[in-house]
Symmetry: C2
Subunit: 322 residues, 2 copies
């Protein structure tokens, strides 16, 4: 009844509202051996997914069902990423509309049974330009930068070249700009726009032009993966989500290496510890391990209590205290 009130007052609505196919799709992340990995299925590079059905209690539970069926891998933390619809990028004419509701899930790779259909692959296989842990990869300055600048130079409209150059510089940190690890999606979309990734050339006949290194994925899955990486890189900075990827106990260096794997860049060791400890995110277990070589390291565990205690603001407004 209220349903009606909500829809009536528009002109083109003449009963021809039509239904749409809805897919649930997951970016499942784990960090294995300090490599950040995404879960894929089949031989193709495909993210786990499946249609949203009547039987599903909710979007999340539907997603859980699909992923666990397809990969035999249980999911822990889940959050919604984004809802995509314009699949025209892939080049298939939309006879019927498909919508993809994407999710980010964090787990650990407990090697259970049934791992045949599941495959972890480092996300840097798909985005080799994103790993700056050993400094900017040569690939960036040797291949990406010149290719992107050629694309900028090929702009037809007045001023469009300069605008492209600026977008490129901001996204990739060229010139004296800083590298911003969060701009994963912007970088991928720039490369797509410049025709430098395989997905951009699908449906265009035989491959034309030079492609940048990095595995392609099915459909628009690489874009969805980029969205997930960007979200995670952003989120680790203001929410204690890294711990979803850690074993129950760990050393501070293990924690640091995991963060570095995700962020794709190195952090200052002493300051990292200070940050973690002053926020009281962890507590000592009392045990130590010398598996790491050198002086034995204390083992810590996540203080689950912080989840409830805090809500983590992130002020950037000069609020008044009183």
């Amino acid at each position: 009844m209220q349903e009606k009130a909500a829809r009536n007052s528009n002109p083109t609505e003449a009963g021809r509202a039509h239904d749409v196919h809805v897919d649930l799709i997951a970016v499942v992340v784990a960090v294995n051996g300090y490599e950040p990995c995404a879960l894929t299925i089949g031989e193709a590079d495909t993210l786990p997914s499946g249609p949203f059905e009547l039987g599903h209690r909710s979007l999340q539970s539907g997603l859980r069902t699909w992923v666990e069926h397809q990969t035999r891998h249980p999911l822990g933390y889940i959050e919604q990423l984004y809802t995509f619809a314009d699949r025209d990028r892939i080049g298939d004419e939309p006879q019927q509309r498909v919508i993809s509701i994407s999710y980010l899930a964090l787990t650990r790779d407990e090697q259970g049974p049934g791992s045949s259909s599941r495959r972890w692959r480092s996300w840097y296989d798909y985005f080799p330009w994103e790993d700056h842990r050993a400094g900017a990869p040569p690939l960036v300055t040797d291949l990406l930068e010149p290719a992107l600048h050629r694309w900028a130079a090929s702009a037809k409209l007045e001023g469009a070249g300069a605008e492209r150059r600026q977008r490129i510089a901001v996204a990739f940190g060229f010139g004296d700009r800083p590298w911003n690890e969060e701009l994963v999606l912007q970088r991928y979309e720039l490369l797509y726009e410049a025709g430098l990734v395989e997905e951009a050339q699908r449906g265009q006949g035989p491959a034309s032009g030079q492609l940048m290194p990095g595995r392609a994925m099915a459909l628009d899955h690489r874009r969805i993966l980029a969205t997930g990486i960007a979200r995670l890189r952003s989120k680790i900075k203001y929410r204690p989500v890294v711990f979803e990827l850690m074993p129950p106990t760990f050393t501070l260096l293990q924690l640091q290496r995991t963060v570095e794997a995700l962020a794709g860049r190195l952090v200052h060791k002493q300051n990292f510890r200070r940050l973690i400890e002053q926020q009281e995110l962890v507590e000592e277990t009392g045990e130590t391990t010398s598996d790491t070589g050198g002086r034995p390291a204390k083992l810590f565990r996540f203080r689950h209590a912080v989840q409830a205690e805090r809500a983590a603001a992130g002020t950037k407004l000069p609020l008044t205290r009183s």
Copy 2:
């Protein structure tokens, strides 16, 4: 073809994937007279919305079409909010599944023609407990706090009461905890869970128990509005989106009052200016106005260039510089 690869490897898929009705729904925000307003339609408290159709080029353009048809109001900035599916909250049995893809849009109230079907209403009409510009509203301590604590006390399971009390304290800033203006959705959901808002009692027969002040909305629109407010309150802190709500030129105090209207709390005047100016978000027009009383104020305009120049990180990791 790859489509197939993506869907084949799951067990329950036996051709019975079914289609779903997809609605696009908008939280359209403007600040009128320092009151943050949402756009509603009809007599009911309903957000503008309409079904996603084959004719729509993309989700966003579909949304634009609906909102502009329903309200004759052009939209500027748009971003996706969240995709909702579990309408069971409203109490209607799902014969068919409905999915709502919600968007946040920012505009200014240029009073054009055809405003009959449009209606701006302060979002504090719906969430009176969210306006802390004049300090915590009496409503919070006089009504909400006792009612929520009664609910916490009514918990059956062991420990559940304490857990509820903690959630309440964090969400509303009780005890010596700080008020966090971003937790709009958590607060609404707590009140919903506690049965203190009208929506929670729909389909439950005649109203039972005491309701908190604040207008209800159709369906789950109030939850969607809460999501939009939360997103906006968070976003103004790290992206220059306020300017979408400002006239072309403005004084710094006008800008400040607008931010305060959105955040629901006061900011420190001098520090606010410092923040704005050091980030070079605005530039002087060279003119002044004395409409404000007292010493005439300089007029500023937004430096649109910053959109391109920066990408705004938000580091919270102790990165190494080299």
